[in-house]
């Protein structure tokens, strides 16, 4: 089939035409030459949707009543053993901070997701922005021609800007590695030019009758940005054609694996926040088998991502956070599943100035479901969020006013030194 996308030359020609004022001149393409600490920081969230079991992943308790069928394996961090379902990650744990004592009170998927993504428990009258939305609203897009906040999530609702507005919603990519939806004009160049001329005529007419109101719509601005994105060379970041086969294979021939590779490419291009979702963790039935399947996808993708970022000297500037909305119960239910368990769960953070080769928190092996004790060294979700914001250079204590006039801070918690690497890097 003939490619219907406008060539870059066509766009420049169109932009030169006085009638098409909403076509902005394209910006310089990929700007990703900086490495190491010189580079602006980015965030990659690996979202384990449904509630990952800590016991089958980062916090196994083999040989105990709650341990289930999970075995453990030694890692590159001497005192740390993780699930044997994650052998490749075991080789990368020296790049990571493992937190086994994340606490929450939200045991519902929607509420738990909103809490972990924002650092605030959901409220009926205020929708908090996700961390990613705060980051891009504060740091901007720079010279990016593609959105600075990308969600690689086939079916999960995209992370949203909440009270900051939906301008900061993540841009969703449905199928990583394939063409991004809706970026190709459905008609040949000549017709696209005619369409844009028609649109320009209508826009001008509307602006002439309601000048101030028409400016308020930002319609021309958005149209221009959409057209710019359609033509941007930065779109190359979404494609995997020029990646070596061996590397693609290392990430895994899965949507999640491709999503992680695309995430690296996006970060390299200058995207500030990428969320890659791995659905399928809501294992109320056959928990162990479910996690065997999930870990086969997660393990190669996450370990290769961390190693790839490290090899490219991008890990210092990129925070990789692997987390889910809650954990799963120590008790195994009659359907061999584990249910929702917000009392404690695990997350792993790598890069971006966070501690390496470190473990925080310790959970008891066997606990009563009805009245669980607190884990040792509990770490709250707001604490993690505040520290991530801080590491990205954002003042979490900054107070903003919501559309209904309510003052609110980006974070109601202080950044936590215990999560941050010391001068020696650990």
């Amino acid at each position: 089939m003939e490619s219907l996308m406008l060539p870059r030359r066509s766009l420049l020609q169109m932009a030169a035409a006085p009638a098409l004022s909403f076509l902005l001149p394209p910006l310089n393409a990929r700007a990703a030459s900086r490495r190491g600490t010189e580079r602006a920081r980015s965030l990659i969230v690996l979202w384990m949707n449904g509630g990952m079991s800590q016991l089958e992943t980062w916090d196994p308790h083999p040989g105990t009543a709650s341990g289930g069928d999970a075995k453990d394996v030694a890692t590159t961090v001497p005192e740390l053993r993780i699930s044997s379902l994650l052998p490749q990650m075991a080789e990368q744990m020296h790049h990571c901070l493992t937190i086994r004592s994340v606490t929450s009170k939200e045991g519902d998927h929607e509420r738990g997701t909103a809490f972990v993504r924002s650092g605030y428990r959901p409220e009926p009258t205020l929708k908090y922005p996700t961390l990613g939305a705060i980051v891009v609203s504060q740091l901007g897009a720079g010279k990016l021609e593609i959105p600075p906040y990308i969600s690689v999530s086939p079916r999960i609702p995209v992370p949203e800007g909440g009270y900051l507005g939906n301008a900061w919603n993540a841009f969703r990519v449905h199928h990583p590695g394939r063409e991004v939806s809706n970026l190709e004009a459905p008609v040949p160049d000549a017709r696209q030019t005619r369409r844009l001329e028609n649109l320009q005529l209508l826009s001008r007419g509307f602006a002439a009758s309601h000048p101030a109101a028409a400016r308020q719509t930002l319609h021309d601005d958005l149209t221009g940005k959409a057209l710019q994105m359609m033509q941007s060379e930065q779109l190359q970041a979404f494609r995997l054609d020029d990646e070596p086969e061996v590397l693609k294979k290392a990430y895994g021939d899965t949507e999640f694996g491709r999503g992680c590779l695309v995430a690296r490419r996006l970060v390299e291009t200058g995207v500030r926040v990428v969320e890659v979702t791995l659905p399928g963790f809501d294992t109320h039935v056959s928990n162990h088998e479910g996690h065997v399947t999930q870990c086969r996808i997660l393990d190669p993708a996450m370990s290769t991502l961390i190693n790839d970022l490290h090899q490219r000297d991008l890990l210092q500037s990129t925070i990789v956070l692997c987390i889910s909305e809650f954990g799963r119960t120590p008790a195994v239910n009659p359907a061999a599943g584990r249910d929702h368990w917000p009392a404690w769960f695990s997350c792993v953070i790598s890069g971006g100035g966070f501690r390496k080769s470190a473990v925080i928190g310790e959970t008891p092996a066997d606990v009563p479901v009805s009245d669980p004790p607190a884990p040792k060294d509990p770490v709250t979700v707001p604490e993690i969020c505040a520290t991530i914001l801080d590491q990205l250079g954002i003042d979490g204590s900054k107070e903003v006013t919501t559309p209904v006039g309510r003052p609110v801070r980006f974070s109601d918690c202080s950044p936590s030194p215990r999560l941050i690497a010391s001068a020696d890097g650990h």
């Binding site: 939906n166 005619r194 369409r195 649109l199 209508l202 007419g205 309601h210 101030a212 959409a226």
Partner: protein
């Protein structure tokens, strides 16, 4: 496509082509709405409302915008009541009606149309149960929406609907109003009384007192924590049992459950009993009935002005896309100020039996609803005019209004209950798929939001505008091209279908010229011109915004 589906499509196309051909024009005939009886007329009430706004504009030193064209007002009404722009069929019929009260008569007819009930029920349900998924099995949004739809079709009193929602007893399928309660069930299977209290007060009384759950209200010092706790206690005996929601799960000869509050960081054993209490006018409480039934009676009491003001502000918001007071569910105390537009609306609403149709008609017939959008070049001046309701606010269409309008604009006839099942099915699936991609407005639907690049890309390049704007067998653009008598009519019909207005002279000339040039190169080129015209109309700011 399977052969059978293809045959159905071909048969439908032929049938529609024959029907339209028989009419001899892209101008189907539709019955005119009946007269409004003297008892049903709202002239005096609307005049009172308009007078209130006239005084306000004078006090705010703003001049009202010019009156909007009737077709523009008709589009606003259609967007608010049907969730889409009007069809060419409806526009033609509306234009043929030359009576001075045609707008009111058409609104009354629209209020009896299942399209109104279906769409408005979905809008109202957001204020009742938000947009969350809710607990599995025991929360049935579809049942609640179907029930609301039926109530709207019957023009049931809002106070009666509110009483049923707050005090519902029974199964979530058998008594759909009980879903207002079941959505508050928590993981531990208890009901969240706080959530129910907060929602009840926000939705039915238009007050945000949620923060008083933990402390006295910081900004509105009249709301104390004990008020919130007292209101939550009315839900303290509600339970979700296998037989449904009830306040009577405990046999009467046994101690009834009490609402208990545990202070933060305290052990559950340190809880204290909170008795049901209302923050004002306890004399409105009936002495008998379940706790929730007594609360419902208090909320809807004829003297409780908050009740009528809350729904008047909500309906204003649904009609304009912006409430009179923002946020929609946090109104000033009625006793703190002289009567305002909400009181005028509320009084008429009460006098006419608490029917939402009264509010909808009054708002749609009022002067602010029938004014143009601000025409000023100066942003401050336009903002002042809009803030005083001296101009119609410019409001982005909601996601379902975008796809609804796209779908309707892609057809000549109204897409309604009389449409072919295949068309109705396609509309429903298109709407679901479009909203999933476009993004839902969420519960805070009346807060202004900007568009996003992904939304713009979806409209420009996505399959919805591509398919609906295509000159193909069954589509509106094909009918416009085939049946319009000349190029001028092609352009005019296209504009009416998409923007509910005729093209101005420059626009007409521009598109006529394209059609004329294409005539020399053949039918395919003319098809392409019409498709490109529809594409531009679909993607124009005028299409995407209510104005």
């Amino acid at each position: 496509m399977k052969t059978r589906q293809l045959l159905v499509l071909v048969a439908l196309g032929l049938l529609m082509a024959v029907v339209v051909q028989l009419s001899g024009r892209v101008d189907p005939v539709q019955a005119q709405p009946s007269e409004v009886s003297a008892a049903d007329q709202l002239d005096t009430a609307v005049a009172g409302l308009d007078a209130w706004f006239a005084v306000k504009w004078q006090a705010d030193s703003v001049s009202p915008a010019a009156a909007a064209d009737d077709l523009a007002v008709f589009r606003r009404v259609s967007l608010a009541l049907y969730g889409c722009g009007p069809s060419l069929e409806d526009l033609r019929a509306f234009e043929r009606d030359t009576q001075p009260d045609r707008l009111d008569r058409w609104i009354r007819q629209m209020l009896r149309d299942p399209r109104f009930a279906g769409y408005f029920a979905r809008r109202l349900s957001r204020s009742l149960v938000g947009v969350e998924q809710g607990p599995f099995i025991i929360f049935r949004r579809d049942q609640l929406t179907d029930w609301l739809e039926e109530q709207l079709l019957q023009d049931a009193p809002w106070s009666e609907m509110a009483r049923q929602l707050i005090a519902a007893e029974g199964l979530w399928t058998d008594r759909p109003a009980s879903n207002f309660i079941t959505i508050a069930r928590m993981e531990n299977e208890d009901l969240d009384e706080n959530k129910l209290a907060g929602r009840t007060v926000r939705t039915f009384l238009g007050q945000r007192i949620d923060c008083a759950q933990c402390h006295d209200h910081f900004l509105d010092t009249r709301w104390k924590q004990r008020h919130f706790e007292g209101l939550a206690a009315w839900f303290g005996q509600a339970q979700v049992t296998p037989g449904g929601v009830t306040d009577f799960a405990t046999p009467p000869d046994q101690p009834q459950p009490e609402y208990r509050v545990v202070a933060p960081k305290e052990d559950a054993s340190a809880s204290r009993i909170v008795v049901p209490e209302v923050p004002f006018h306890a004399e409105w409480l009936p002495s008998t009935g379940s706790r929730r039934a007594r609360l419902a009676a208090w909320v809807t009491h004829a003297d409780n002005r908050r009740f009528e003001r809350a729904i008047a502000n909500r309906i204003w918001g649904l009609m304009f896309g912006r409430p009179l007071h923002e946020p929609v569910d946090d109104l000033p105390h009625p006793e703190d100020k002289p009567d305002d537009a909400l009181d005028l609306l509320g009084r008429e609403f009460r006098a006419r039996g608490d029917r939402l149709s009264t509010l909808i008609r009054m708002i749609a017939l009022s002067a602010p609803f029938r004014l143009n959008t601000a025409a000023a070049d100066n942003a401050d001046e336009a903002a002042r005019q809009t803030a005083s309701w001296a101009a119609f606010p410019l409001v982005r269409l909601r996601p379902e209004q975008v796809i609804g309008s796209l779908f309707q604009a892609g057809r000549v006839r109204s897409v309604d209950q009389n449409s072919h099942p295949l068309i109705r099915l396609t509309r429903m699936t298109s709407e679901n798929e479009f909203i999933e991609e476009y993004g839902d407005a969420g519960e805070d639907e009346l807060i202004p939001q900007a568009g996003t690049i992904s939304q713009m890309l979806l409209k420009m390049n996505g399959r919805f505008s591509r398919e609906l704007g295509k000159v193909d067998l069954l589509t509106g653009p094909a009918q416009v091209l085939a049946l319009s008598p000349d190029d001028s009519a092609i352009v005019e019909n296209s504009f009416l279908m998409c923007l509910s207005r005729r093209p101005d002279s420059a626009e007409l000339l521009h598109f006529q010229k394209q059609l004329q040039q294409a005539r020399q190169t053949g039918d395919e080129q003319r098809k392409a011109v019409v498709e490109d015209l529809f594409w531009a109309l679909f993607n124009s700011p005028e299409f995407a915004w209510n104005h």
